[in-house]
């Protein structure tokens, strides 16, 4: 196996260029743009449909994504592949990490796993709510939309980045920089 496949890290420029070329392939050969957050709607709709299929039909937003459209689609497989690809990369580079509570979080909020899991869950709720309101996430807007020079995507980019900086400073302050 070539040595570069076993390196723990690649240059961020090589990784970024790789993502750019991957976008060429998805646009050019698959008529698709990289994105992930829509799949979480399909997954939520799928789980709800196991218990209350009529609700999926009656909810306009879920129906738009689920009725007469396969829930297991290109992007859902992309999301599954994404997890597997990261796993393969971590195994080859021996760079996996079994993280329960990140150091920065523990420094600020203590070592409790339960508190961290709750914080992670709350963050996840906000992320997907925001992504669906905005119509995309860091992939669909941040990469795919920005490279197309889309006005809405650059608006999203500026707002999420600014809010991320403000929130990180509010949570951890400048002293947090010594703990990342």
């Amino acid at each position: 196996m070539p040595g570069f496949l076993r390196q723990a890290r690649w240059s961020p420029y090589v990784v970024g260029a790789g993502l750019g070329v991957l976008s060429w392939i998805t646009f050019g050969l698959m008529d698709k743009a990289l994105g992930t957050s829509t799949s979480f709607v399909n997954l939520a709709g799928l789980i709800e449909s196991f218990f209350a299929p009529q609700h999926v039909e009656q909810n306009a937003y879920l129906a738009k994504h689920m009725v007469d459209k396969p829930a297991i689609n290109w992007q859902m497989m992309l999301v599954i592949g994404l997890g597997l690809g990261a796993l393969i990369s971590a195994k080859l580079g021996r760079s996996g990490i079994k993280e329960h509570v990140p150091d920065l979080w523990a420094w600020r909020f203590g070592p409790s796993r339960a508190v961290r899991y709750f914080g992670a869950f709350a963050g996840g709720v906000a992320i997907l709510f925001g992504a669906r309101l905005a119509g995309g996430c860091t992939s669909g807007h941040g990469i795919s939309g920005s490279l197309q020079l889309a006005v809405g995507s650059w608006t999203f980019f500026a707002c999420f980045f600014g809010a991320g900086i403000a929130t990180a400073l509010a949570l951890y302050g400048k002293a947090g920089r010594r703990h990342v």
Partner: protein
């Protein structure tokens, strides 16, 4: 019970899977599936996220716009519903600083072993379900407030697309050189 568990064609599923494998491999190799790298960017201690994303956008834009103009490869521009883009972006940014991952990098983080990212992903599925319940109100009051349609910077300014692509190259080069050697921490494994 399983009437919504439906599958697209095997070819489409295979292409999605392969795309995802490469996507996840690259994100993990770049170090952006790490909480400390994402928070390091927001705290301005490590600039890996900016380097990865800006390079992806610059390289991607050159190829995608060239293919669009030469071979009519279709674009996938989303609507500029600016109030929704902005409000959604702010909520997303708050959540991302709390979780330390975005949707894609959270899945990658789970793949490389992060346990708290699993709770983040569960939150994301919940967030999607919550949004589905309140979407009519937001559609009427926020998305409809400003909708410029599927517009690009070239459309709204009347300037040539390549002016913006060249501008991106210059801004990226300037940003990379300014941030060079400014990392307080590494994105190392």
């Amino acid at each position: 019970m399983f009437e919504y568990l439906r599958f697209d064609s095997p070819g489409k599923l295979a292409m999605g899977l392969i795309t995802g494998l490469v996507f996840g491999f690259l994100l993990q190799r770049g170090g952006v599936t790490r909480f400390r790298v994402i928070l390091g960017q927001f705290l301005w201690a490590n600039h890996t996220v900016i380097r990865v994303m800006f390079t992806a956008v610059v390289v991607g834009s050159i190829g995608v716009w060239a293919m669009h103009q030469m071979w009519d490869v279709p674009l996938h521009v989303k609507n500029a519903t600016l109030a929704a883009n902005a409000l959604g972006g702010v909520i997303f940014g708050v959540g991302m600083a709390l979780l330390g991952y975005c949707p894609g990098t959270a899945i990658g983080a789970i793949g490389e072993g992060s346990r708290h990212a699993i709770f983040g992903a569960a939150g994301m599925v919940t967030g999607a379900a919550v949004y589905a319940e309140v979407e009519p109100w937001f559609k009427q009051h926020v998305l409809a407030a400003v909708d410029l349609g599927k517009v690009t910077w070239a459309d709204v300014t009347g300037l040539n697309v390549w002016v913006f692509v060249a501008g991106l190259v210059v801004i990226a080069a300037a940003a990379f050189s300014l941030l060079r050697g400014r990392d307080l921490t590494s994105a190392g494994a």
